[in-house]
């Protein structure tokens, strides 16, 4: 049997969930025996080179690029997993959702106490993704099949989840590893 293929990405997250993946430490050696990584910051493959079994998404969607990548993952992965609070509910980036976008941009680029921007330049280039009105959890944009909670999710939980996904077994979540923080 071919090894299951995994892909991962970080959207509007802090890469903390990916750090937590790395926190499985020496089990990583076991993991690469069990699965094959495709598009992911872990191996630096930038585009899908084959159909993927499990796509793992860190972070919610705060700009047009995030939406694009998320849809790209949905189109290329059989199973899509939201990893962590930001993917599941927007998380800390979504704290801006109750503040008007204009105010956020002014605070970041013009009025912030540590901002130096004498020419008052606001990011506005067609190369740059467009900021969305709000930060959205991934399941409000595409269908998500599974969720791994935590901020970040505990490394053991990620390990268990990956192992069960790779072997197709059902995972009973321990109370102690089911946390929103």
């Amino acid at each position: 049997m071919n090894k299951p293929v995994i892909a991962t990405t970080s959207l509007a997250g802090c890469f903390g969930c990916h750090m937590s993946i790395l926190d499985i430490d020496e089990k990583f050696l076991e993991l690469i025996e069990l699965v094959e990584f495709n598009k992911s910051p872990i191996d630096d493959i930038k585009t899908f080179t084959k159909p993927v079994d499990v796509g793992i998404i860190e972070g919610g969607c705060c700009n047009s690029e995030n939406i694009h990548i998320l849809k790209y993952f949905r189109d290329n992965c059989k199973i899509l997993v939201s990893l962590g609070e930001c993917a599941m509910m927007g998380g800390l980036p979504a704290m801006r959702n109750t503040i008007p976008l204009e105010e956020c941009i002014k605070e970041a680029y013009l009025n912030g106490p540590s901002t130096v921007n004498e020419e008052k330049i606001l990011p506005n280039d067609e190369e740059l993704p467009i900021i969305l009105d709000k930060v959205y959890p991934c399941h409000e944009i595409v269908k998500i099949d599974y969720f791994i909670p935590g901020c970040p999710p505990r490394a053991d939980l990620i390990w268990d989840a990956l192992l069960h996904l790779a072997t197709g077994k059902k995972l009973e979540l321990e109370y102690e590893s089911f946390k929103y923080d």
Partner: protein, 231 residues
């Protein structure tokens, strides 16, 4: 002597005392019925509905309903669990709950209920309603993004001569918790602490007391609320 009454919860016969509510009778017999707006020892208000049970086929709130002989109560059926999940999910989307950044995380009843019922994501879309934070009083912060309007603060935190510190202002989705500006100025340390404790979520915060307990030592870190509440 208290008259004893025989009732059944999920088919299990228990003996309780006349005058007890379903929640009290259940707790005394080691059975967990979730509560949120209710606080042990005060008059129940029956507003959050999380304690919904079916008594002889009818939905009733277990915190307000006194037991009677022959009550057959359903507490853990799939139907009731589903209803409770809907209530919890509704509360999550109608406020702004960023647990990783919340002072009450690990000690919060709403969060503990979500853990109890293993809620991954709410079935409803998030509203992200704009709610104003009030940090103007000397001892307390009102982080209204997290208020569930349970009125526990209104009902329990009073001056020695019985005046309310807290009140609900407005109606419907505009309803919000307010703190009497004048009374807040003379609030004692103990009262401020009590206000924070009695708030089931992270809305009432005593200044400079957040994040005191490390992760792992908080109330619901190791054990679910059903175990913490029924010991």
């Amino acid at each position: 002597m208290d008259k004893s009454i025989k009732i059944k919860i999920d088919g299990k016969g228990i003996i309780a005392k006349e005058g007890q509510t379903i929640v009290e009778a259940a707790e005394e017999n080691g059975i967990y019925i979730p509560t949120l707006c209710h606080l042990k020892g005060i008059i129940p208000s029956g507003s959050c509905r999380i304690c919904n049970v079916k008594v002889n086929g009818r939905f009733l709130t277990a915190c307000t309903t006194k037991i009677h002989d022959g009550f057959e109560i359903e507490n853990n059926s799939p139907e009731i669990t589903e209803l409770r999940k809907i209530i919890i999910e509704t509360l999550f989307v109608s406020g702004n709950h960023y647990c990783p950044a919340c002072e009450k995380s690990g000690n919060c009843i709403l969060q503990a209920l979500a853990y109890q019922y293993r809620i991954m994501i709410p079935r409803f879309p998030y509203i992200y309603e704009q709610r104003e934070i009030d940090a103007s009083s000397p001892k307390l912060i009102l982080e209204r993004n997290r208020c569930v309007l349970c009125k526990r603060c209104v009902r329990t935190i009073k001056t020695d001569d019985g005046k309310n510190y807290f009140a609900i202002e407005g109606r419907g989705h505009k309803a919000r918790i307010i703190l009497d500006e004048e009374l807040a100025k003379t609030m004692t340390e103990e009262k401020a602490m009590k206000a924070m404790e009695n708030c089931p979520v992270g809305c009432i915060l005593k200044k400079e007391t957040g994040f005191i307990k490390p992760i792992g030592e908080r109330k619901y870190d190791k054990e679910s609320i059903s175990k913490v509440c029924v010991k």
